[in-house]
Symmetry: C2
Subunit: 718 residues, 2 copies
Amino acid sequence: MKKITMGAVLFSMMFGGLHAQSLQSPDGKFEMNFQLKEGIPYYNLKYNGAVVVEDSKLGLRLFKDNSIQFASEITKSEDTKFDLNNGFTKTDEKRNSKDETWQPVLGEKKNYINHYNELALTLHQASSERNIVVKFRLFNDGLGFRYEFPQQKNLNYFVIREEDTEFDFPTDMKAWWMVADYDSQEYRYQETKISEIPGRWDKAFDANASQALVKNAVQSPLMLKKEGKNPLYVNVAEAAVLDYPASHLEVDAQDFKFKTHLTPDRQGAKGYIQTPSVTPWRTIIVSPKAEEVMDSKMIFNLNEPTKYTDTSYIHPTKYMGVWWEMIIGKSQWAYSTAENVHLDTTDFSKLTPNGKHAANNTKVKEYIDFAAENGFQGLLIEGWNIGWEDWFGHSKEYVFDFITPYPDFDIKMLNEYAHSKGIKLIMHHETSGSATNYERWSDKAFQLMNKYGYDAVKTGYVGDIIPRGEHHYSQWTINHFYRIAEKANEYKIMVNSHESVRPTGESRTYPNYVSAEAARGTEYEAFAGNNPDHQTILPFTRWMGGSMDYTPGIFQTKLDYYFPGDKRFVKTTLAKQLALYVTMYMPLQMAADLPENYKKHMDAFQFIKDVAADWDDTKILSAEPGDYVITARKAKGTEDWFVGGITDENKRDYTVDFSFLNKGEKYEATIYEDGKDADYINNPQSYNIYKKQITSKSKINFKMVRSGGFAVSVKPVK
Amino acid sequence: MKKITMGAVLFSMMFGGLHAQSLQSPDGKFEMNFQLKEGIPYYNLKYNGAVVVEDSKLGLRLFKDNSIQFASEITKSEDTKFDLNNGFTKTDEKRNSKDETWQPVLGEKKNYINHYNELALTLHQASSERNIVVKFRLFNDGLGFRYEFPQQKNLNYFVIREEDTEFDFPTDMKAWWMVADYDSQEYRYQETKISEIPGRWDKAFDANASQALVKNAVQSPLMLKKEGKNPLYVNVAEAAVLDYPASHLEVDAQDFKFKTHLTPDRQGAKGYIQTPSVTPWRTIIVSPKAEEVMDSKMIFNLNEPTKYTDTSYIHPTKYMGVWWEMIIGKSQWAYSTAENVHLDTTDFSKLTPNGKHAANNTKVKEYIDFAAENGFQGLLIEGWNIGWEDWFGHSKEYVFDFITPYPDFDIKMLNEYAHSKGIKLIMHHETSGSATNYERWSDKAFQLMNKYGYDAVKTGYVGDIIPRGEHHYSQWTINHFYRIAEKANEYKIMVNSHESVRPTGESRTYPNYVSAEAARGTEYEAFAGNNPDHQTILPFTRWMGGSMDYTPGIFQTKLDYYFPGDKRFVKTTLAKQLALYVTMYMPLQMAADLPENYKKHMDAFQFIKDVAADWDDTKILSAEPGDYVITARKAKGTEDWFVGGITDENKRDYTVDFSFLNKGEKYEATIYEDGKDADYINNPQSYNIYKKQITSKSKINFKMVRSGGFAVSVKPVK
């Protein structure tokens, strides 16, 4: 299986040598080489002198250039003369560098360091008299590069047929991957060699509400590991996916090579471009340490600083929700027994209540009381608005109006009640994928939020997108997501977006776009289930570009508690649920379980009450994708630290070295760990809690059971 | 070629006789028979005992029923078990009748008579346990019928694969037709036998900005004539096309049969239906007199009365426009020489003016002056807003904002100036087909109109629709058009919509949706040209469902006046241009030529100044599709009459019998006729004008030259 690379090397020396450009990272460890071989652009990447990425092609194929009106012919033209992947000569070269520190509005650290050397190469295609720029930024943690399209006579508008950026690896690395899909990221992660991806692909997915799989392609970010004596971790992803479709990675299993595959619209077009324009950044993060990959802020650095003039309304929030009881099937979003409702004509007050509607005045007040008593800031309520009777699966465009409550939800009273107790209700805007309808209603919906004092919204895009034929990750829909972010900013509203495209660092530019789901969250434990190693892979993949609303905190993990005989269960111990509050960064952080379940474990619940949601510092103490993650974080504006550790399906010991604490200071640590007899299948609710005085010299050993974990809160002793 | 119908007749007698239902028109001349033949529904239509439509199938094919979530699989399911075209039994029959008179807000007559007998048949499909209703309304001028889908357990949601309503004619009639297209109606009419349609089809179209032709199908309304001793005129069309795609007619040239073909979306779906729901009406208007077909108001009668609570803002308007000079290429919509602009970032005041921008303060004031001096109420100005530099052909979504004027268009000053002279400016919202963008901006755009006192807007949809993949006539886009009408009504604004779907009587329901283009208008005289018989066919086709903004009134018909050597010319005499103001009903009526051209013919221009735009009565004096139209109309609220006559490429005499005037009263007629030496090619501006006293006993003979015409204004002598 090992491919022969000698030919390429020789070829490179013979034809490319004279035209090669090199770029070094600030610390000198990385080297990127660019060259044109017979007019075709290639790059490679070396780390400490060793090839990480072999000569890999760059370029795009276009449907047509701006000299022709494509109209309805767009899918027909396969003429290659418009392509931007060959016939180039280098006509200009600009170098630049930056070393800046910036502060995210919400983040894992107070300061993010943006330090890189830049090389921008202008390539001229003589046959078409067009120029493009390939811009490389080499950081101390890896490479970012993108295509830029200056506005010019022969390049005003074009339509992308495909971007063919390649990532050609010299060896058959281990890969943590998920099947590619234009509409869903809610799949289980797979762990195989690159060469084994096609063999596993067909078995690597289950059904989703909206699904358009891409055969033998995998999702980005893709986590890779060169195993052996000198292991190397490689993360392939993208940054700043704006006005452009999200990309997937086609696998060439024989050559250990990946190639971009953009999400098309229904016409097969992969991006309608007006110059001047830039593509997203293609990113390759590399380190011998998995922890450094997880800790990389490169993807955020490659996004533009925000232009928002006021970010004071953006704040970390811990919240509960009238939610999990619907997910597991105990309650319903819908109010009535009707199967078919028309928002304009149905009188919901005259429908027969189904008796299981959770978002009712009585229940919501109980949730408010509990959330307030326990120091939460927010309460999400789903199913508050009319339309849930037939919200899904009918390609119904006018499915919600986002402003009309069900008869048993007194929006004014409940907000006043919540505010009187220090709780803000969190709005829910499920769109059912009907983005056109949401755009029609968004002003009125945000005005309603302003009127009643909501400052955060959870949006949802379950099911196929309307405009019909668009995908969740196609250019139009991605523009929709950030259009909503900008509109929410006009109303000073934070957004937590579900079933939307995975973030690729956009929270730097749109800091009110606080979080997204965009992967398989806790809810899947009530559907087909998550694997015990799931949460150890997410930080290396989904999280690389932004926080995820994973919704941890399930104490009653066995669903036969609600439904005798039900085999569904959350595949972690209770202690691991606590640890997720630290290992998973989420500034809009949920305690997802029902109050009745927390009431039975108030001692353990104390950790959720205490833990912060925004941070001044983060230390990835130890991590291996698919195996374990141990993370310490320092709460924003305090000297409090929180440590979390999780393991996969294997039990595991880990000794936390507290040397990150201030020297000479005394701290009280509260430890939450798996009970000795704990087991995520048979005895998930067994845990120990104890307190201990510690200093920066302390070490504590934790024994995690299979799919177990531990959590520690550390406060200075005053 | 004559098909054998005996078999069908025998079959009908043997199997269908017992299950047949009959319906008569109020005057007894029409008879419709419905029957189920082996579970398949058929209808036929007789006029005075003769078969007009032979037994023709009814039914729809569906993708899936509501028991399955179709999600992204929609184009894949060809399973016929969801179809609604077979296996029926009749389970209920309801009869009804109506004889009412209603008043259109704007119309050709003061009163429209809605007189019909109705038969509603409930058909049960046992295999699927579903019911549908087929509802027939038989008027004295023809048949309308539709499908109705009651809300029921097994029929809550479905997706239409095709509607297969048939129109099976016994003989090979003459047809006036146009190629079917999902995006354009801007084609030349063809005149052939039904059997000759496929042979002509490939030669019957030219290029259009947005084009999706349907091979061997023709557009609706389709005008037919059974020639011979007892001629019969038949018009096949549709009414109330709402929340449903527009239909075309597939030709079976051997059997002289047509079948509906709905406009799909990009997924091949032809309608997303939630019950209770109804389809548009399929209409067959029949008369031995062409004039009666043209005069039919059946299509309007089949639309619902308006629910608008205030229609007082809807008024007839004669207007001029800063428009024709751009159409012919003398001026430009765009302000600058830029080829590529970004609405958010381009500073238009810093661009280089192209020197040909028509919508500038100086020119607009001149137009205002001329329009005011000559008694017009409105002035359309196109190219007033930023974005025209690259408005077309780039699939650009954010192409206009509809609120930002070019630097040389002082919107406040110009509106104040216009109002001071009794003129209202007419707004122009060209969308470039980007309907999603227009929906985003429509509130702000209408608010701007309210602020400055505009009360009418011309909308435009040149080019492919965005959402990409939708067509101009697909369900989504049709919903968009009427959504805009409803929103305009909120702001008390009249709409004149171009490149939108042809109206099918919706002005009854949306009376502010005053008019549309939806066919080849005068502008085509400056493109590929219109045939001399074009305006004699339009009233039998495009006009059947609503008025058209044809924009007549071109006096300077030869474009070599502007551009020496230019071969383009308007293919009518000047007198025919005047006649169009009577033969073509348009309550928002334009005088399309430049003031400088009217100034040279102020005597002829007097007719345009005098003619009304809304009417108390209309008499189609004589008409033959493709040959000639002679129409008399009585101006709203007055005793003034206007008469117009036009002919095709043949010269023609016609004697107007003024017996429609009040008996015993004296009138002064002002006659505008072709000069003796007039010729639409060689001498179009030759005309005679004279006055004559007339009474109801008067007759005047007019000699129309080829593509000529005459116009008469008739006022009582006081």
